[in-house]
Symmetry: C2
């Protein structure tokens, strides 16, 4: 274990630091990591970002198997990181624990809900960090903080011992500053890839590019050319002829139904205090029209079949992880909501599809990071991580 960390960016939850040594030898030896505070560590409370959650739930009796696997691979735990309350938000704000600083753009939000994990990695406090991603909670903070992040195929990594938000969307993801570390963690946590063969062709998701502001498109242009050198000239595809806003709407309705099914009993029984935005989202989840949720479930089914057909041969989608860089800390709630809706039309692609997505820190807009996402068929996570490492090498990013 190294010296005590100076948490210069407010990435860790308040209180005594939760640290654990890993095994003496293993594939992650020498790497320090942090875990979002919705994964259990035995003997410690799991706050889930909300004071009333910690108060009304017993401390963890067990350590989540995914955390256990990292310790057994010889990584060492440096602490538990802040999360948006109940993981239900994208800016990374937490009024109870304090919003972590975005080390790459201190005047902007860090992104969430895995805000503390992203900030800890971006500030160099740890080599990698576990987050979770339901609707963008790893991909967006990775894009905003200028680091690598992966949302794996849905179901690829066990969420036992982790608090849920929308079980049919929830995934265990992680961040790293270096592409090789992102892949090394994947080698420990991920199943073998389903099906083999090289990835390709490259598919440029036109609608997701049109959804991004021009400055983001400009910032990602050169990396796309390099990616085309690796995979061949991109073919243009439309992911959602019905509109990305339709994707977002269906995602929102199914997620809301699942969020209330998962957490509603606790919310109703506890009447917890919530910070701004979170309260409104749970109120909307409670009031969700069951017919809309049913329509969303039906849409998801056809969308998954469509994506499977598109990506079956090894196709790789590429598009901006987020259409814009992180909102400024003084952005109005209306501005934040506008960014949220525009962003989630894109994050809903992998969310609804159950697809793996890796975000690479390739560009800057107004001095703030924006990421490029690579997306493949479910079960191709390892190949995707290998491709990300190749692209990072070509681009001169940290490998």
């Amino acid at each position: 274990m190294a010296e005590a960390l100076n948490d210069s960016v407010g990435a860790f939850i308040p209180g005594p630091r939760v640290e654990l040594a890993g095994a003496t030898a293993g594939p992650l030896a020498g790497l320090g990591f942090a875990v979002k505070d919705l994964y259990d560590v035995a003997g410690h409370p799991t706050t889930y970002g909300n004071p009333d959650w910690a108060r009304s739930n017993p401390p963890a009796a067990a350590t989540a198997p995914v955390v256990q696997a990292l310790l057994q691979a010889a990584a060492f735990l440096r602490g538990k990181t802040k999360t948006v309350e109940l993981a239900y938000g994208l800016t990374g704000e937490n009024v109870w624990h304090g919003t972590p600083v975005n080390p790459a753009a201190p005047g902007r939000f860090p992104g969430g809900s895995s805000c503390g994990s992203a900030a800890a990695v971006a500030a160099g406090l740890v080599d990698f960090a576990l987050g979770s991603d339901t609707g963008g909670s790893v991909r967006i903070p990775a894009s905003y903080c200028g680091i690598f992040g992966i949302r794996p195929s849905w179901g690829a990594v066990s969420l036992a011992g982790a608090r849920g938000l929308g079980p049919s969307f929830d995934t265990a993801g992680w961040f790293a500053q270096r592409a090789s570390v992102l892949a090394r963690v994947g080698a420990v946590l991920l199943p073998e890839d389903a099906g083999g063969g090289p990835l390709g062709p490259l598919l440029k998701a036109e609608d997701a590019w049109i959804n991004a502001v021009p400055a983001t498109v400009v910032a990602l242009a050169e990396p796309m050319l390099v990616l085309e050198r690796l995979l061949g000239r991109a073919m243009r595809v439309d992911i959602a002829p019905e509109g990305l806003d339709t994707l977002y709407e269906h995602f929102r309705c199914v997620q809301a139904e699942e969020a209330w099914a998962t957490l509603g009993s606790w919310v109703a029984a506890t009447d917890p205090q919530f910070g701004p935005g979170v309260k409104e989202r749970f109120a909307a989840a409670k009031a969700m029209d069951p017919a809309k949720a049913a329509a969303g479930r039906a849409f998801r089914r056809s969308f998954q079949a469509r994506m499977r057909a598109l990506l079956a041969g090894g196709g790789v989608l590429a598009y901006p992880t987020s259409p814009v860089p992180a909102p400024l800390l003084d952005a109005s709630q209306a501005e934040q909501n506008a960014v949220r809706e525009r962003t989630m039309g894109v994050t809903a692609i992998a969310g609804l599809g159950g697809l793996p997505e890796v975000s690479l820190p390739v560009g800057k807009v107004e001095g703030a990071p924006v990421g490029l996402s690579l997306v493949a068929a479910p079960g191709r996570d390892r190949a995707l991580l290998a491709l990300a490492e190749r692209l990072a090498t070509e681009l001169g990013l940290p490998v």
Copy 2:
């Protein structure tokens, strides 16, 4: 809604019956169903089979989306059914609520953990019933009670609003007396199949047949011949050259790790009363050696790749669902444990593999039912249900 049910077999949980009308029209119109009491129904407690669970958890604020989907498809809910405590057992015993009668073999256990759902279907109280299957909890009671049952591909049906036991094994399954009803429920709940093409060749899992007692093999011989008429001569394969007991051992260790990660905090904080067997299983889960769990996780990874390779072309495994019929109600704990271990070497195939498995009520041993299982690659659930319906037709089973 039909007239009040006479619960002649003790299938439903004690107390007022939880009944809900479905939509006025839909694909399941006219069908009554029941749900295992680990799925939430808004406004009602979820007992999870244990009095201390119901006491220490708030009533459900929401209805589980899978139950909602059945109601929206116009099925009507007739009640919540008994489960083994925390779904952690295979005989179907529940000392708090009373063990349901096995309608097909009243001197024997109904099988569990979805005991009440199986008994309700076998007694004709409902047309179908939701259960859940982690290590055999749908397949075994289906086999014991002489009805159809499916454990879907892992992850195919959302478990939002359902209590978990081992998240990376847990599935939402269901029972029916008629093969067509089993498939109609699947058409409502399941995603489109991944990949197309007809199922086949037929693969006879030799080790699972050798594991069964001779009387079971004899009882299933004729159905296997009929299956060969449909799919061609069976090819013989060994699923587990390392031994089915090795499969069971790895399954047991990973499941135990996940069970303690999922429920350990509640067990430690509540110190609940447990019936025989359940207490011991949680004590074992708490004491599970992390190195054994890690070995189990590694084994599962290679086993999944092996099964995927074996079944990729459409292959269908066939073997006895349970090696023996249901144990007698007066079987000693030692006899029950012996049956459990012998059974779970076989149920671990689909459990570790994440594979869909349908059990058909094709045979009898000493007057008690035994099922034949069909197993395919993940994502081929609908094709598997269609095959089961064809086979049922050929065999003169209820379609």
